[in-house]
């Protein structure tokens, strides 16, 4: 058990713990979590959520060459993004990724290894969150970007004109920004759910219900949903038709300069609460 030959004894390192140690620990947690939990076959269903629409759009591109309408396809892409990606794909993908970060380790009885390491639990929360956000943005960002490419790639000259000389690239930027913010917002929410609840599925269903009825909520209550801050970032408005239009409550959209920091603040608060909860968390696998 001699420490000879090693540059700095561990106890001495402890005395000087600092930002550099926290940074090294964050990077280690990020690396470990990405290696252990993501880019693995068991995450197949997340890939499906991220790339399912891409496959459908690619099939549409292959089968409808020369019979395309730029305006119609722009609206379809906006619909896919707002209805599928924001309300379902990213929601369920983040639920799967982020609730697993702590609850999954409790189920696999491996969380105690982190708790027995010289890592502040707040750093652990942040490290796991960053790993989840990295994976979610990579998957869903790639899915959205590929969907965009396939949607406009097959239109020909008009498509290229729209993307490179029109508002196309701006749309893509907003879609990716909304995707990243959705991953951050839902990620923080589901990470907290995974810490607070033994079975996060039930609260997740309640949140899904709440987010789904956002359109019909009074203006004040809308502010307590994540989708409310994401919708203003969507570059193309999707018209609500049929019976849904009857119940829709029109509220003033949040300006982008409030939506982005607002969502980041909410995410920060959720993470702060998760960090507080994790400090008092106990390992009791037998009862979970």
């Amino acid at each position: 058990m001699s420490a000879e030959g090693l540059a700095i004894p561990l106890q001495e390192k402890a005395a000087g713990y600092s930002w550099s140690l926290w940074q090294a620990q964050l990077l280690t947690i990020l690396r470990l979590e990405l290696k252990r939990n993501f880019f693995r076959l068991r995450g197949f269903w997340v890939y499906l959520l991220a790339f399912g629409p891409t496959i459908i759009i690619a099939a549409h591109a292959l089968t409808s060459r020369g019979r395309c309408n730029l305006e119609q396809d722009t609206t379809i892409l906006a619909g896919i993004f707002q209805v599928f990606y924001l309300r379902l794909g990213i929601f369920f993908g983040c639920m799967g990724i982020f609730t697993r970060l702590f609850r999954g380790e409790v189920i696999e009885k491996s969380l105690h290894y982190y708790f027995l390491a010289p890592v502040r639990r707040e750093i652990l929360v942040l490290g796991k969150f960053l790993a989840g956000v990295t994976a979610a943005i990579l998957f869903f960002g790639a899915g959205v970007a590929l969907s965009f490419i396939f949607m406009y790639g097959h239109i020909g000259q008009a498509g290229r004109q729209f993307v490179f000389n029109g508002p196309g690239l701006g749309h893509l930027g907003y879609y990716l920004l909304a995707t990243a913010l959705a991953c951050i917002g839902y990620g923080a929410l589901f990470l907290l759910m995974g810490i607070v609840f033994r079975n996060p599925i039930i609260p997740a269903v309640v949140i899904l219900g709440w987010e789904s009825i956002d359109n019909v909520l009074p203006a004040l209550l809308k502010k307590f949903s994540i989708i409310f801050y994401l919708e203003p970032l969507c570059p193309v408005e999707v018209p609500v038709e049929g019976i849904g239009a009857l119940f829709t409550v029109v509220a003033d959209p949040v300006p982008v300069y409030i939506a982005i920091p607002g969502l980041l603040c909410i995410s920060g608060l959720l993470l702060y609460y998760a960090a507080r909860k994790i400090r008092s968390m106990e390992i009791s696998y037998g009862t979970d």
Binding site: P9, Y17, L21, A24, L32, I283
Partner: protein, 317 residues
């Protein structure tokens, strides 16, 4: 200023309740360097005590400190504490080497330092050959050893081991016992819980007997045994004339029983006062009336103390 308790593991009036269920109650303990064994039946509170010591659970009342530190300050605490838990589980897909290396990186070690310490701890538990195989393909004993390697890899001053001999074959068990003993002699605080009492007995400097969440007895095993007055001490004597010895013993008021061995080359005596027994034996030898081949206490081991205090056979092999 350093306090004396900064070199000890201290439990002060610690209680832990799981809802209405008692884990441990009003525990007051100080544990010094060397090997300390926690002994008790299932559900007696051994694992609860270890989990409280290492911050995996928090006390309902009281506090515990390890070398003056608590798990609320994990950056300092877990550099001096290593805990090999009973949980036989690992993150998926790791090899034994990765498992230890990854955990060392969390200490802020660079890749080279972590590699050196990983190899060192793997060698210490004789796992170098299997280090690059997936942990999922390990036998139970190998998993136990790799967890042990991980818990000592950062050179802790306090090593907590929950049932560390479970699943080990006799050879690995002997090697592990030798390792714990060596670590104890190096000045580490080694706290072990085990059901294999006769093996733990050999290396323990101190035992803590637990039952139903309470500390029943603590201290050096011989001292604890002396305190158990209601069970007379058993002493085995091998000698040339056990009949004569038995006759002399029965003249003493502290002798409860003397049973001559079937081979008539010794006897088993039960006495309420071991000191007077040994004085008498010494006197008999000096008088030259019989030759003594061997004298040994027959029940001042952990197993006997456990049986007397807790009331059932505790030892398993």
């Amino acid at each position: 200023m350093a306090h004396a308790t900064d070199r000890l593991i201290v439990f002060e009036n610690v209680s832990k309740f799981y809802g209405d269920v008692l884990g441990v109650n009003r525990i007051n303990l100080t544990i010094g360097p060397g090997v300390t064994s926690l002994v008790g039946p299932n559900g007696s509170g051994k694992t609860t005590l270890m989990n409280l010591m290492t911050g995996l659970i928090w006390p309902t009342k009281g506090y515990c400190r390890v070398l003056g530190l608590t798990a609320h300050d994990p950056e300092r605490f877990f550099r001096v504490v290593g805990y090999c838990t009973q949980f036989d589980s690992f993150a998926k897909g790791l090899t034994g080497r990765e498992f230890i290396y990854d955990s060392l990186r969390l200490y802020g070690l660079n890749a080279q330092e972590a590699t050196v310490r990983t190899n060192e701890s793997l060698e210490r538990v004789n796992m170098m050959d299997a280090a690059d195989r997936k942990v999922a393909a390990y036998s139970k004993g190998m998993r136990q050893r790799v967890r042990l390697a991980q818990s000592i890899s950062h050179h802790p001053k306090v090593l907590v081991l929950d049932e560390p001999l479970n699943g080990l074959d006799p050879m690995a068990r002997a090697e592990s016992m030798a390792l714990f003993s060596a670590l104890g002699k190096e000045g580490l605080h080694v706290v072990i819980s085990s059901h294999i009492l006769h093996e733990v007995d050999r290396i323990s400097d101190q035992v803590i007997l637990l039952n139903s969440g309470y500390v029943v007895a603590e201290g050096q095993i011989h001292g604890v045994r002396d305190e158990v007055k209601e069970h007379p001490m058993q002493i085995m004597v091998r000698c040339s004339n056990p009949g004569l010895l038995a006759a002399k013993l029965f003249a003493q008021d502290h002798i409860v029983e003397a049973k001559i061995h079937d081979d008539r080359k010794g006897l088993l005596a039960r006495t309420r006062d071991a000191d007077r027994f040994y004085s008498l034996l010494h006197q008999i030898v000096l008088e030259g009336e019989l030759e003594i081949d061997a004298v040994a206490p027959a029940d001042d081991d952990v197993n006997s103390v456990y049986r007397y205090l807790i009331g059932s056979e505790g030892a398993t092999v």
